[in-house]
Amino acid sequence: MVKMTTENNKAKTKISVTNLDFYYSAVQALFDISIDVPAKQVTALIGPSGCGKSTFLRTLNRMNDTIPGTKYDGKIRIDDKDIYAPSTDVVALRKKVGMVFQKSNPFPKSIFDNIAYGPRIHGTKKQSELSEIVEKSLDRSGLWNEVKDRLHKSALKLSGGQQQRLCIARALAVDPEILLMDEPASALDPQATVKIEELIEELRADYTIIIVTHNMQQAARVSGFTAFFYEGKLVEFGETEKLFTKPQKKHTEDYVTGRFG
C-alpha cells in the first residue's frame, strides 16, 4: 500500500506508522495502516463506531499493552524512534505521548494532587516546583481562575467540563509533545465543548494533537488534517478542508456528507 502523506510536505512528520496490523486475540482490528502524522498540527480521526479509531490511538502510547492477548505487526515511529522496539522505555514514551479519555477520569484526589501526580511519578519532589507546574498546567488549560481557590478540594466536585479540562491539564503537567484525545468532548454539553475546542486551538502551536471525534463539524473546526477510518482500514487522509470538500474516495464522501455512519 502506498503511504498516505500530507500533500503539504512542509509539515514535519512526528509520528510515522507503516503497515500496522493490530489484533485483539484472534480478532483483527486494524489492517495495514500507514500514515504520517504531522508535527504541531491537529489531526482528527473520524469514522463509524467500531472502525478502530480508539484502537489506533491506543497503539501510539502503547496503552493496548495493558490488554492481555493483543498483538501488532508493522512499525510505529515517533521522532524516528521505533516505539515498539524492545529497548523502548514505555514510561518515557507515555510521558511524551499524553492521553485524554472519552470519559473524564480525574483521580479521587484533590485538584492539586491530580495535576501533581504525573510530575511526582517522574521525580519532581520539591513543593515549590510542583506548585509552579500545577499553576502553569491549570493556566494552560484555562482552569486556573476557576479553581485557584480550591486547589485542595476534591477534583470530583468539579463540573463535567471542568473535569475534562483538568484531565487535559494533568496530561500537560508531564510536559508531553503529543496529545491523544479520544472523543474528549462527547460527554459534555455544548458550552463545555466549545471550551475544549478553544483549548485545542490554543494548544495546537505547541503540541502534536490527535483527536478522535464523531462530530464532523468538530473535526472541521479544530483539525488541520483528517484521517477517515472504516472497518479497521485507513481509507483517506489529508488536509481537513480538502477531505471534507473534495474527498478522493466515494466512501469518504458518503461518510462526511452523512449518507452513512
Binding site: N61, M63, V91, R94, G98, N105, F107, P108, I121, C167
Partner: protein
C-alpha cells in the same frame, strides 16, 4: 387511588420496622446487660472496677478490677491488627491486581476456606504448633502469651480483611488505572498511588471488620494467652482478655453475686469498646470522603 396510598404507606411502615429491628436489638442487649450489671454500682461501687486486680474468688478479699482484662484485650487486639491489616491488604492487592487468573482461582477459595475454620480448631493449632514455636523463638518458659494469642487472631482476621479489601480494590474503576498508566506510571505505582487510595474506604471497613472479629474472639485466645490477669505491655507476657474471662467464669459464677455483676460490667465495657472502634472507623471514612 386511596387504596394504593394506604398500601404504600403500610409497605413503608413494614420496611421501617425491619430497618429498626437491628437498632432495637442492640438497644435491648445493652439494656439487658445494664440491668444485670447495675447493682454493682451500689455494692461494691463503680470505683472497684478501675483497680488493677481481678481476683473474683478468694478466701481473704475478692477484687474486681477489670483494668488487667481491658489492657489484655487491647494488647492482643492491637498486635493482631498490626499484623493482620498489612498482610491482609497486601494479600488483597496481590490477588486483585497482580495474580494471574490461575493463581486467583486457587487463592480465593483457599482463603475463604481459612475463614470458615472453627476457632476451637485454630486454638488447637495455636496450642500445639504456634505456642511451642513462640516459646523457642524467644526462649521463654511458656509460649502461652499475648503474642501467640495475637498471631492466632491475626490468622483468623486475615481472610476477612483479604476478601473484603479485594472486593473494594477490584471495584475501583478501570478508568483510574488507565489514567495513571497513561501518565507514565508503572503498574506498581498505579496500584500504590491510585488504586489502593481509591479503595481505602473499603479497606478501612475490611480492617474494622477484621478487628471486630479479633476483639470478640473467645475460644482461641482463651486457649493460648495463658490467662494471667495482669497489666502488661509486653507481648511475651501471659494476659487474659475480657472475652476469655467471661467465657471461663460465667458458667460457675453464683447467680446474682458480685462476681456475676462484675462479669456483666466486663460485657458492657466490651460492647463499648466495639462501639468505639466502629465510631473511629466511621470518622476515618467520613474524613477520607470529603478529602
Amino acid at each position: 387511588m386511596k387504596k394504593i396510598v394506604t398500601k404504600e404507606k403500610s409497605i413503608k411502615l413494614i420496611m421501617l420496622l425491619a430497618a429498626s429491628t437491628s437498632i432495637f436489638i442492640v438497644l435491648l442487649i445493652f439494656l439487658f446487660l445494664a440491668k444485670e450489671a447495675a447493682p454493682f454500682i451500689f455494692k461494691p461501687g463503680l470505683s472497684e472496677l478501675f483497680t488493677a486486680r481481678w481476683v473474683p474468688v478468694s478466701f481473704q478479699k475478692e477484687s474486681f478490677g477489670i483494668l488487667p482484662l481491658v489492657t489484655g484485650s487491647l494488647l492482643v487486639t492491637i498486635i493482631a491488627t498490626l499484623i493482620a491489616v498489612p498482610i491482609g491488604v497486601c494479600g488483597a492487592i496481590y490477588i486483585s491486581e497482580v495474580a494471574t487468573s490461575g493463581e486467583r482461582r486457587f487463592l480465593k477459595p483457599f482463603i475463604e476456606l481459612l475463614a470458615g475454620i472453627p476457632s476451637v480448631v485454630i486454638g488447637f493449632f495455636g496450642l500445639t504448633v504456634l505456642a511451642p514455636l513462640v516459646k523457642s523463638a524467644f526462649g521463654l518458659q511458656t509460649g502461652l502469651n499475648a503474642l501467640t494469642g495475637a498471631l492466632l487472631l491475626a490468622l483468623m482476621a486475615i481472610p476477612t480483611i483479604v476478601s473484603i479489601s479485594e472486593d473494594a480494590i477490584r471495584s475501583v474503576p478501570k478508568s483510574y488505572k488507565e489514567g495513571s498508566l497513561a501518565l507514565g506510571a508503572s503498574r506498581l505505582e498505579t496500584i500504590w498511588k491510585v488504586t489502593t487510595p481509591a479503595a481505602l474506604p473499603g479497606i478501612i471497613a475490611a480492617s474494622m471488620l477484621g478487628m471486630g472479629r479479633v476483639v470478640g474472639e473467645t475460644m482461641a485466645v482463651m486457649m493460648v494467652t495463658g490467662n494471667a490477669a495482669q497489666i502488661t505491655a509486653s507481648p511475651l507476657e501471659s494476659v487474659r482478655t475480657m472475652t476469655a474471662t467471661i467465657a471461663a467464669e460465667m458458667g460457675e459464677v453464683p447467680f446474682g453475686s458480685v462476681h456475676y455483676r462484675a462479669l456483666f460490667c466486663v460485657g458492657i465495657v466490651l460492647l463499648l469498646l466495639t462501639f468505639t472502634i466502629n465510631i473511629i472507623a466511621q470518622r476515618a471514612l467520613k474524613k477520607y470522603r470529603d478529602i
